[in-house]
Amino acid sequence: MASVAPARGSTASAGVGGIRGRALFANFLRRELFTRYLGSVTGFAWAFIHPLVLLVVYHFVFTMIFKAQRFGSESFLAFVAVALWPWLAAQEAIQRGATCLTSYAGLIRKVAFPHELIVYASVAATLVLQFAGYLAVIVALVLYGEPLHLTGLIVAVPLWIVMAIGVVGIALFFAALQVFVRDVEHVLMPTLMILMYLTPILYPLEVVPEALRPWVALNPFSWLVGRLRDVLIAGRLALEWGDAVALVVALALFYGGRWVFRRLSPHFDDFV
């Protein structure tokens, strides 16, 4: 097949931010958004209906069957909705991000471009759609009369951004690993599922036995879930020291993941 003109210094990581990098990212993002989600019925279901159904199921199981305590005066529905959505968004972004390189194998084998743009586009598409769904559900719950503070969104948006930074790093790490070790995909799914139950999403951190609590709190997601409840349910908008620590952790995840990715990406073409 024919091909045209090489790039100077064309290692796969160069030129992420240039005109070309931005044009490519826009191209991949458009592709991910329109074809993968909005183009197909199942894609759309994944984006919105799946979390919605899960929320209804949890609500039914925990309030009707288990008769879970209301954790103070809060509504259980609002309590779960605020935390469940970002978790599902992160989970999907990591899973899709980890496997997104495969569908671009032809391009990776033949063309020099920064491979990480594919992961960025994949994660961005998932998170953007899921965040839109999150906003819709929060607004819907407020209209339904649930005790939520819309002003909390002012802080919730930056919290999501911190989460996105960390999630991109994790996705980069697993995407690079997945190229060489195909089992990653199969290990990731059950692992993330177990992690969900170990994260205080369906329960507050306070009900975890004292001895285990520091371990559960170590999970960055425990922090995120707690903060989202602070701002949206309790309506406390003040920033905390922990937020800065979380940002540092997210950046460390991002740079760590990107370092691994850039180390491995020159060898992708042989394995992808």
Partner: protein, 412 residues
């Protein structure tokens, strides 16, 4: 007519060189080697990942390229030949920047732009239109610029409504059409083509060759990978023969391709002869055992060519041998049999008869032909077997047709 008899791009290249003798080469490879990691046991992947993360190479490697050096100046054309697995595709990938070499240096002094892979580099799930946008993005073209060129590309590709279908539903010829259309509009500084000419019908091949010749005439630079010595000789001034990852020969395209063809002939002669003999004995038919052209498969116009070979006769009677010349497209040019000229092949061993046909000052015009030898029964009635060899006649004659007729322009 236009492609075959138009002046070769080879003729235009030296002028470009002369115009800028001191300019740095567009592309320079210095002692480039490439090792591929080999995973030879379970768990090898994790070990490999660990080694790569530590900045070490893989423990077990396969060397695809070994110490390859060459330069490509602006306006030059280089052909790359070699057997399957010789490292041609690896070399193109390194030139294109898809992966870095394990050792050695590669320098590209051109416009900074992506390698734009046509055909297999398109995303199969994208439609033709979406692939045009992707190609533009890979080259870093702003969307505004691609808007201007989209119509031009669609018109050149000329694949009608298929432009709205995903590439994966395209025929290979359609993919190449679109690839050439994109390349035409985006004006690459180096055109890298890997067997692109092997795809597509005769007329589309001609269109592609005409396009490349025009591109070269305008000072374009070409890196062509092909198994067709004809295309290499026609389009390239220099050639590089890769063998098991190493440069076997590098220099004038004609010399390199001839050496490469000679290597193949020896190889097939070694591999084929005993097998053919067995088959011939078992089937018991008159068969052509060998066919050789001297001085070679590529000759200049007007050369003295000798066709020689051996024919097997199951009953040891003297067979009739017919030698014919056909044009690459199958049009017969000339044919003659031993019984027409009342000659007999000479018996060289039991059941084996040899023949030699001299064609002094071969009047064929430049182009590709086949020399065919047919084995017939002694009566010259039944045709049992035929073997053919390609023959390329080179030259820069602009005469038309197949053969040069003796002629003289006189006063009226």
């Amino acid at each position: 007519m236009s492609t075959i008899s138009s002046p070769l791009a080879i003729g235009t290249a030296p002028q470009n060189d002369a115009a800028a003798p001191a300019a740095a080469p567009l592309l320079a490879l210095e002692q480039v080697s490439k090792d591929y990691a080999k995973i030879d046991r379970r768990g090898g992947q994790l070990r490999l990942v660990w080694n790569l993360l530590r900045g070490r190479g893989a423990a077990h490697v396969y060397r695809a390229l070994d110490d390859v050096s060459f330069t490509l100046a602006r306006g030059e054309s280089l052909g790359i030949v070699g057997e399957n697995g010789a490292g041609k595709s690896t070399l193109l990938k390194i030139v294109a920047g898809v992966m870095p070499p394990t050792r050695g240096r590669i320098a590209v002094h051109g416009r900074v732009g992506a390698l734009l892979e046509l055909g297999s580099g398109f995303h199969p799930e994208y439609t033709g239109l979406a692939n045009i946008d992707l190609a533009a993005a890979l080259l870093g073209l702003p969307p505004a610029e691609i808007d201007d060129k989209r119509e031009e590309i669609i018109a050149f590709a000329d694949i009608g409504e298929h432009i709205h279908d995903p590439i994966k539903h395209y025929s290979s010829g359609m993919v190449v059409r679109l690839g050439f259309a994109v390349a035409t509009a985006l004006k690459p500084q180096i055109l890298i083509t890997d067997e692109v000419l092997a795809v597509g019908d005769e007329s589309f091949q001609k269109k592609c060759i005409a396009w490349i010749e025009n591109y070269l005439a305008e000072g374009g630079t070409l890196l062509l990978c092909s198994h067709s010595m004809y295309h290499i000789q026609k389009l390239c001034r220099h050639a590089l023969w890769l063998r098991q990852g190493r440069v076997e020969r590098y220099g004038d395209a004609m010399d390199v391709t001839q050496a490469y063809l000679a290597f193949h002939e020896e190889k097939s002669a070694r591999a084929k002869a005993p097998i053919d003999a067995r088959v011939a004995v078992s089937t018991g038919v008159y068969s052509v055992q060998s066919l050789d052209l001297a001085p070679g498969d590529v000759v200049p116009q007007g050369a003295d060519v000798t066709v020689a070979g051996e024919v097997y006769s199951p009953d040891d009677r003297v067979p009739v041998i017919l030698v014919g010349v056909v044009r690459a497209d199958g049009t017969p040019v000339y044919g003659v049999a031993t019984d027409m000229d009342r000659v007999a092949p000479r018996r060289v061993a039991a059941h084996r008869f040899a023949f030699t046909l001299s064609l002094p000052a071969l009047p064929l015009l430049p182009g590709k032909y086949f020399i065919r030898a047919h084995a017939l029964d002694p009566e010259g009635v039944r045709l049992f077997d035929h073997v053919e060899r390609p023959l390329v006649v080179t030259g820069d004659s602009r005469e038309m047709g197949f053969v040069r007729l003796p002629h003289r322009w006189g006063p009226p």
